[in-house]
C-alpha cells in the first residue's frame, strides 16, 4: 500500500453538492431495480397479464359494460394503479430495510447529506420503480384493450402522487421494521386488502349504502378513481377531494419521514 498524492476536488457550492448526493442515491436505487429485474419488473408484469386474461378477457366478457366502457377498459386503470402502489411501496421498504439490515445505510448517515435529501432520494427510487412497472402494465393492457386518455394531467398527477405516498409509507414501514417479517406484514395484511377493496375491480355504486360509506374511508379508493377519471372521465368520488387528500397525505408523510430520520428512529439507535 502506498500514499501518492490524491486527486483533489474543486469544492462545489452546497446546493451542487446536495444535487450530486441526491442524484447518487437515485442512481443507486435505479441500479438496484435493474440489477434485480427478475424480482422488480418481471413478477408484476406476469401478475398483470394474468389479471387481464382472467378478469378482463374470461370473466369480463360475462360482466358486460361498466358505465359505457368494457369491463377490461374499466379495470385497466385500477390494475395499473395497483402495480404502482405495490411497487412503490415494495421498493422503498425493501431497499431501506435492506440498507439497515446490511448496515450500508451508514454510508448515507455519515455523509454530509441532510435527512430530507436522504428521504427524497429513496422516495425518488420508489417513484421510479412504481412508474416503470406502471408503464410495463400499461403496455400489457394495450395488448388486451384500447386505452383512451381523457385527461392527461389527471392521469399524471394521480399516478405521481400515489407513487410518492406509497413510497413514503414504505419508508415509514422500513424505519420501524426490525426483521423481514415486519416488512411483509403491512403489504400482506393491510395494503393488499385495501387495494382490492379500493375500487380496482368494481364501482362502489354497485355496493349497498353501508359498504359504500365504508369504502369511502379507504384512501386507495380516491387514488384509483382520480386515475380512472384521467382515462375514462368518470369517478365514484369527488376529484377535488381526491387530489386534496393525496397532496395533504404526501406532505404529511414526507414531514413524518424526515422527523423520524432527524430523531434517529430505527437508524441511530
Amino acid at each position: 500500500m502506498n500514499t501518492a498524492t490524491p486527486v483533489t476536488a474543486a469544492v462545489l457550492p452546497r446546493g451542487d453538492r446536495r444535487w450530486v448526493g441526491f442524484r447518487t442515491i437515485v442512481i443507486r436505487e435505479f441500479s438496484r431495480i435493474v440489477r434485480i429485474w427478475g424480482q422488480t419488473i418481471v413478477p408484476p408484469a406476469i401478475t398483470a397479464t394474468l389479471y387481464f386474461i382472467i378478469f378482463g378477457s374470461l370473466i369480463g366478457r360475462r360482466i358486460g359494460d361498466m358505465g359505457g366502457v368494457t369491463y377490461m377498459q374499466y379495470i385497466a386503470p385500477g390494475l395499473i394503479m395497483m402495480s404502482v402502489i405495490t411497487n412503490s411501496y415494495g421498493n422503498v421498504v425493501s431497499s431501506f430495510f435492506g440498507a439497515k439490515f446490511g448496515r450500508h445505510v451508514e454510508e448515507l448517515l455519515v455523509a454530509p447529506l441532510p435527512n430530507w435529501l436522504i428521504v427524497l432520494g429513496y422516495i425518488a427510487g420508489g417513484v421510479v420503480r412504481g412508474l416503470l412497472v406502471g408503464l410495463v402494465v400499461t403496455v400489457i393492457a394495450l395488448f388486451f384493450t384500447h386505452l383512451h386518455v381523457e385527461h392527461l394531467l389527471a392521469v399524471l398527477a394521480a399516478v405521481l402522487l400515489t407513487a410518492v405516498i406509497f413510497s413514503l409509507l414504505g419508508f415509514v414501514n422500513a424505519v420501524f421494521a426490525k426483521n423481514f417479517d415486519q416488512i411483509s406484514f403491512v403489504p400482506t395484511f393491510i395494503l393488499t386488502p385495501m387495494t382490492y377493496l379500493g375500487g380496482v375491480f368494481y364501482s362502489i355504486t354497485m355496493l349497498p349504502d353501508w359498504a359504500q360509506a365504508v369504502s369511502k374511508a379507504n384512501p386507495i379508493l380516491y387514488m384509483v378513481n382520480a386515475f380512472r377519471y384521467g382515462f375514462l372521465g368518470q369517478s365514484d368520488v369527488n376529484l377535488g377531494l381526491s387530489f386534496a387528500l393525496m397532496t395533504i397525505a404526501a406532505a404529511a408523510l414526507f414531514g413524518l419521514c424526515v422527523w423520524l430520520m432527524e430523531k434517529g428512529t430505527g437508524t441511530r439507535e
Binding site: M1, N2, T3, A4, P6, V7, T8, A9, L12, R14, D16, R17, R18, V20, G21, R23, T24, I25, I27, R28, S31, R35, A99, G102, R103, H104, E106, E107, L108, L109, V110, A111, P112, L113, P114, K263, G264, R268, E269
Partner: protein
C-alpha cells in the same frame, strides 16, 4: 487546532445502559491517536456519536471546530470512518461502492472515478475493481472500507479496529499505509485490540473504561508510568530451571530463554554480571512487547467502576 474535541459527552441507551458518562477528549490536528478500552467500554459508542451513527444524550462534539449540533454537514465533510463491522452492500461491485460514496459527499461522478482509481491503487485493490464486494477476502474488505473512508479526502480518519481478523502481513502493510497517511497530514484516531499496534503507531492515547476516560496523555508518558520492564534474554545454552538472581524476578520461558523484570532502580549491567558469574552467556536480548498491555490491565483493573477513581489498595 483541535481535530476533535469532546466535552461532557454522555450516552444512555433506551435499555438504560449508561455507555458514556461525560467524557472530555481532545485530539490535535495531525495527531495519531489511540483510543483503547476493553469490550463494552464505550469506544464504539463514542465513535458512533462523532460520526452521526448514534444520537448523543448530552455533551458537545466539535470536528475541526464544527459543532455536530449546529454545523453537522461541515463536521461530516471533515470526517472519514472505517467501522468495526463490514457495512458496505455486499451485492455491489467495489467500484460502485467507492463512486457512490464519493457521490454522497458531493463529489461529481467523473472526479469520483479518478479518485477511485487512485485509492484502489493505493490500497492494492485495482484488480478487484469489478469484483462483487462479498467475494473479497477479509483483508480486502477492510482495505475497501479504508478506501471508501478516504475517497472524500477527510482531514480526520477514525478507524475502529481496522486490523481485526487480518493476517500479520496485511496488518503490517496497513500500519505502513496509515503512517504515511498521517505523515501527509491526516489526523488519525485508532481503536484496536492489538496494543502493540497502538504502541507502534500512536503518539497520544486515551484509555476508556466503563464510559469514562481513565487515562489521556502522550504515549511515551503513559508508558513511563510503568515502573518496570520485562526483558527476554536468549542464552547460548537453554536452561531447564530459572537461575537465581538476587533482587530480580526471573522466569524461565518454554524455549529455555529467561524473562527478567527490571525496575527503574535496577540496571542491566548487574544482570549480565550475575549471569556471567554463573557461566551463562547471553546471545541476544529483546524487550517484551506488551508494555501497553500490562499498563492497560493495571489501569482497567485498578479503577473503581462507579467513581472512576483508583481503587484503594487491598489490605491483607
Amino acid at each position: 487546532m483541535k481535530a476533535l474535541s469532546l466535552r461532557q459527552l454522555s450516552k444512555t441507551y433506551r435499555n438504560g445502559v449508561h455507555a458514556l458518562k461525560g467524557i472530555d477528549l481532545d485530539v490535535e490536528q495531525g495527531d495519531f491517536f489511540a483510543l483503547l478500552g476493553p469490550n463494552g467500554a464505550g469506544k464504539t459508542t463514542a465513535i458512533g456519536i462523532i460520526a452521526s451513527l448514534v444520537n448523543k444524550t448530552a455533551g458537545q462534539v466539535l470536528v475541526f471546530g464544527h459543532d455536530i449540533d449546529t454545523d453537522i454537514e461541515a463536521a461530516k465533510a471533515c470526517l472519514g470512518l472505517v467501522p468495526q463491522e463490514i457495512n458496505f452492500n455486499q451485492f455491489e461491485k467495489v467500484s460502485t461502492i467507492l463512486v457512490n460514496q464519493a457521490g454522497f459527499y458531493g463529489i461529481p461522478r467523473r472526479l469520483a472515478k479518478e479518485r477511485m482509481e487512485v485509492w484502489l491503487h493505493k490500497l492494492q485493490l485495482r484488480e478487484k475493481r469489478d469484483a462483487v464486494s462479498r467475494s473479497l477476502s477479509g483483508g480486502m474488505k477492510r482495505r475497501l472500507m479504508i478506501a471508501r473512508a478516504l475517497i472524500h479526502e477527510p482531514r480526520l480518519l477514525i478507524l475502529d479496529e481496522p486490523t481485526a481478523g487480518v493476517d500479520i502481513e496485511v496488518r503490517r502493510s496497513m500500519w505502513e499505509f496509515l503512517r504515511q497517511l498521517n505523515d501527509r497530514g491526516t489526523t488519525i484516531i485508532l481503536t484496536t485490540h492489538y496494543l502493540e499496534e497502538a504502541e507502534n503507531l500512536c503518539r497520544n492515547i486515551a484509555i476508556i473504561d466503563e464510559g469514562r476516560i481513565i487515562e489521556h496523555d502522550r504515549m511515551a508518558t503513559v508508558l513511563r508510568k510503568l515502573h518496570s520492564e520485562v526483558f527476554v534474554l536468549n542464552l547460548r545454552q537453554p536452561l531447564s530451571t530459572a537461575p537465581d538472581l538476587p533482587g530480580y524476578a526471573v522466569k524461565l520461558a518454554e524455549d529455555g530463554s529467561i524473562e527478567v523484570e527490571v525496575t527503574k532502580a535496577q540496571n542491566l549491567n548487574d544482570i549480565f554480571a550475575a549471569l556471567s558469574a554463573r557461566g551463562l552467556e547471553v546471545v541476544s536480548m529483546r524487550n517484551k512487547a506488551n508494555r501497553l498491555e500490562e499498563l492497560f490491565m493495571r489501569l482497567v483493573e485498578g479503577r473503581d467502576a462507579e467513581t472512576g477513581q483508583p481503587k484503594p489498595a487491598a489490605s491483607a
